[in-house]
Subunit: 488 residues, 2 copies
């Protein structure tokens, strides 16, 4: 076996270890009995230590024999990227990696309890410990302007707080306090539909969108997520309110977008950047693309109306696409990010970005979060959450240690708008096909232009190759202003 | 840290690795998408290699510093056992351990397909490979009389084919072709009850039996099993026929018996024999005890009738304990082992024992199995299966590599009868309590006399300490003859 084959074999081994970590985590969120959480965090810690060792000291032994200069094409791009990864991973001590994994496993358990009991203090000590560890991590990784930048890099390589501010602030400014006219129709999603019927509808519906159940599944959890356990095992979750189908449906479509990306990756050279997702920005561009650009278009509402009639005739025999479209595009502040319209969504992100940046940069304390959250909600959205469960406790991200993740939701949305605009320009029959539920041409284009690039290019390079230009900030605004009529 | 603490810490690490293997396996049987099976078998193989290394070469380094002579009491018993384990594990090359794990993961997938399609040939090549590997394993382990004895030892330490023959043959002889009078009542379990309602009944019912859902769960799978992922995470599965509640219920009670054992183990020194189950024989004595000795008693039928009325009033408002008792104790051959009465069950075991012994001792070939199975069914039970799915493909055990497991079902039943007789003799109010659903005194006695002994004594020592005597063969016959009236 030559050195390159050895490297690829080693990376595949790490890939399998990471699959196992993913399964442990998926199981914790969906199935694990309550009292097993301490054992689970120990299992996760053990695996984290294995993964870390194999990504650092073990990888080093193999990598030192691989000469980048002798490689070309795919191999060159892969090894270049792996060497960069190695440099980054090696900065983190194994002990810290293990502690972080164990603590996030525990913190998620306590966050869930805190949210269910509307008691921030049940979660606060875990969050305090996590913030400490993440600051430690940032210090190991190194940064120029501030520690938070070191963490941002995990989700969008090279992104700095300043860059993101320059992108998000104009959007916040442009859409601040913008509203649409209040809708005077009965919201067609608000009907009482039992959990089982909603879940079975969701499963039929995402199959129509292209989700392959021989390579994935959908379950219930506290916070919806997508988890690619392995290339042929991509699992998503959703949550259900019996009196509001939209609550489940648009979260399910969002996660389906993530899953379609994972299911469309190259299936060779597993564990290498050739078969990996590019970044969280590209990942969110996919989920937000399906959830919003496709999912809230009139063409899609026509398709959705047909499917509601077909799969849930008891509840939706009278549904009307225009009404679905109107409800889905009403701009009106909401306490909850994942239930927000396409516009006020970004005010939610700005709020989280500012808070997590200040936390990691040690400008505020965990104990300040609930009141700061409510203050910012009042400023940005004109709403004060009625409880911490609907406020500072609503998202799992901080419990999962994902500081620096939120910005990719907005970035991803702006990428998605550009991809959508490009697709509409090259496919004149776009809306026509969507209306008929013909999504294959979209899957094909995405696979060819985005998924198959793996992680061998950065987000912006992929966007450029796919749409012909860098991220253009005006495209998102144009897209919104074309579709949505504001009154204020 | 002293050497003993180091040893215990190492064993706890192995315990966590094994928990992960258990979760991978549980997930494969309950949730895993179909196309993920190859990745899963690779994940299992990787973990098997880790477990093996930590149970052999890594353990050796630690064990060599521990001096058994300096230890006493609990520590002495634990280390003595661990040294024996080490000797045994070290005989198996890591490569074989990995191959066996990967192959059983694949074989179970193909067995499931073969069973669903009633096509033995879909499974045969995997079974052939497995038999080869198990013979190889037997050769590494060593044996006196025959290779099969080396495998038997995995499930009941020290048991030889000859010993088991001496136990099972008198039972087979005594109960061969024994029947009870045909029952002329309508079987009260045979009502159409949807899957969801049956599962929710089962969950309520096993809670009444003592199953703790904060430390476990119940799901559906092709073949019911119990899987102790960790001390606070014990999962059982069942399967459901819409027109026969007994099919689900008695398998669920069986698995609950296994789970109660796991949930009752000592919670300290995890990964050592102090907190492990003793043997498969003791394990099956627990499942069979609840399924049969308790579960098919008149007292229990009275309790069950009440619960059926309470939890499923729509279907069971008229149920009568005497009718349940009659149906549950009808002796009448059945194609399927897990649905068999307490008597003909052991003819099923004799059949499987003979076939697997002959396979491993290379007296027959995999391709001979379907016809030999049917022949033996005709001889022992007077029935010829109408399909291989109902015949040679019915059990998962061989696909899971569990050659030598079946005898413990019979042994466990005989142990259970002796435990039951003992309990009835020391608790004069036994039936009275069972009828009222008061099981706490049983749990307490089992915990004190069996569970808390861990694996620090062998099966027979535990039985002796618990009931005051070695296994007495006549107790099972006495128990049966007291309860059941045969006509032929």
């Amino acid at each position: 076996m030559n050195t390159l084959e050895k490297l690829y074999q080693h990376l595949e081994k790490v890939y399998h270890f990471q699959s196992i970590v993913s399964l442990l985590s998926w199981d914790q969120e969906t199935n694990m009995p309550e009292n097993a959480f301490e054992q689970r965090s120990q299992q996760m810690g053990l695996m984290a230590s294995l993964v870390h060792r194999n990504k650092t000291s073990e990888l080093k032994k193999i990598l030192q024999d691989v000469n980048l200069q002798e490689l070309k094409d795919k191999d060159f791009l892969i090894v270049k990227r792996v060497k960069e990864d190695f440099e980054k991973w090696s900065k983190i001590p194994e002990k810290l990696a293990v502690k972080l994994t164990e603590l996030t496993s525990q913190a998620q358990y306590h966050w869930d309890k805190a949210k269910k009991n509307n008691d921030f203090q049940l979660f606060a000590p875990y969050l305090e410990d996590l913030v400490k560890l993440k600051i430690e991590e940032a210090n190991y990784l190194g940064y120029e302007a501030c520690p938070y930048d070191a963490l941002l890099d995990d989700y969008e390589k090279g992104l700095k707080s300043k860059d993101f501010e320059n992108i998000i602030q104009p959007v916040v400014k442009e859409f601040y306090q913008k509203r649409t006219q209040e809708i005077d129709i009965q919201n067609p999603f608000k009907r009482n539909i039992p959990v089982n019927e909603q879940l079975s509808f969701a499963n039929q519906f995402i199959k129509d969108l292209g989700f392959d159940f021989s390579r994935g599944r959908q379950d219930l959890s506290s916070h919806p997520f997508s988890n690619a356990i392995s290339i042929h095992d991509v699992r998503i979750t959703t949550r259900i309110l019996e009196n509001d189908l939209q609550y489940m449906l648009y979260s399910t479509i969002h996660e389906t977008g993530h899953a379609l990306y994972e299911l469309g990756l190259n299936t060779e050279l597993l564990g290498t950047p050739y078969s990996e997702t590019c970044s969280l920005t590209i990942h969110e561009s996919q989920s937000r693309f399906w959830e919003n650009n496709i999912g809230r278009s009139l063409a899609f509402c026509k398709f959705l109306a047909k499917k509601l009639q077909e799969y849930l005739p008891k509840y939706f025999n009278d549904v009307n696409p225009e009404e679905l479209f109107a409800v889905l595009n009403e701009v009106k502040p909401n306490f909850v990010r994942t239930e927000s319209d396409e516009v006020s969504y970004h005010l939610h992100i700005a709020l989280r970005f500012e808070l997590e940046k200040a936390l990691i940069n040690q400008e505020i304390k965990v104990q300040d979060l609930p009141s700061l959250w409510n203050e910012k909600m009042q400023n940005y959205l004109g709403l004060v959450p009625t409880s911490d469960s609907l406020g500072v406790l609503q998202d799992v991200h901080w419990a999962a240690g994902l500081f620096g993740y939120f910005p990719t939701y907005s970035l991803g949305s702006f990428y998605a708008a550009q991809i959508y605009q490009h697709l509409k320009s090259i496919y004149p029959q776009f809306d026509n096909n969507i209306e008929k539920g013909e999504f294959d041409f979209v899957h094909k284009w995405l696979k060819e232009n985005i998924f198959s690039k793996g992680r061998m290019f950065n987000s912006n390079e992929i966007l450029q190759q796919a749409t012909g230009s860098n991220l253009k900030n005006h495209i998102f605004s144009d897209y919104i202003l074309t579709k949505i009529k504001f009154t204020s």
